[in-house]
């Protein structure tokens, strides 16, 4: 009886603690990536004397570059496995999805491999982004006058 109850309690609590751990990891790593983005933006604005709006473009390009590079070098997969949403939700996840699809199909040739499959994983972000942006833009234009 005691054993069965013990097992019940373990089963009830084990997934929860994993979830808790995942949540903490995602919060800390995702927050760190966000902080890095803000830091890079301010650094670029300070170094090159450009407005923060242009600095944000350079910041996003930098993050995408490192996301792509680390995926190509092979150890970003382990990072993503460890941090989960902490690296999927930031723009690095977009870079990771694009890069890993490209690497996977690279040996099938330039056009049928890379060209056809590059946006296989990250294409849905662009598609649904464009669809929703267009309709929400339309809604705002019609009902709120732009």
């Amino acid at each position: 009886m005691e054993k069965i109850r013990y097992k019940e309690i373990v089963d009830k609590n084990a997934p929860k603690s994993v979830r808790f751990k995942n949540g903490v990891r995602a919060f800390l790593i995702g927050g760190f990536v966000g902080m890095l983005g803000d830091f890079l933006m301010q650094l670029y604005a300070y170094l090159f004397h450009i407005p923060t709006k242009e600095a944000s473009v350079f910041m996003i390009i930098t993050l995408i570059f490192f996301g792509c590079l680390f995926t190509a070098l092979g150890f970003f997969d382990n990072f993503v496995k460890y941090a989960k949403a902490g690296l999927i939700i930031p723009i690095t996840g977009f870079a990771h999805a694009t890069m890993s699809a490209t690497l996977e199909y690279a040996r099938e040739g330039l056009v049928t491999g890379i060209g056809a499959n590059m946006l296989k994983l990250s294409g849905s972000v662009i598609i649904f982004g464009v669809i929703s942006a267009y309709f929400f833009g339309l809604v705002r234009l019609i009902f709120f006058g732009g």
């Binding site: 919060f27 760190f32 570059f65 929703s132 929400f136």
Partner: protein, 116 residues
């Protein structure tokens, strides 16, 4: 000070994503698509612009900002040109990100070979 706010904002967005990922059967692909739609939705009431003023670069890093920038570019162009501006300006602000992802992926895929 925006460093702390950007840490908090980006962390909370990732935490919400992780909670959704753990408690439903959605894949990361579903998750990113969902967050893009949420970001595009928040731009209707200019809410995301206020978040960017508050959290700085931390609000531009999550994928929600991608949806926000799509809507924002479309609306800025639409304010000048009219309703056709929606289709003309939708990629104005995000093209740099998409271009960077495509160019870097292409070049790096030519240089590196996959391990297995």
């Amino acid at each position: 000070m925006t460093l702390i706010y950007s840490f908090l904002f980006c962390g909370v967005v990732c935490l919400i994503g992780q909670i959704i990922l753990d408690n439903t059967k959605l894949t990361p692909g579903h998750l990113t698509s969902l967050f893009v739609v949420v970001g595009a939705f928040l731009d209707i009431f200019d809410m995301y612009d206020k978040i960017i003023l508050w959290a700085g670069g931390g609000a531009l890093v999550p994928i929600t900002s991608f949806g926000h920038l799509l809507t924002h570019g479309a609306l800025v162009k639409a304010a000048n040109v009219g309703i056709m501006g929606l289709s003309m300006g939708i990629f104005d602000l995000t093209s740099s990100g998409i271009l960077a992802a495509i160019i870097f992926s292409f070049v790096l895929a030519l240089i590196f070979k996959p391990k297995d």
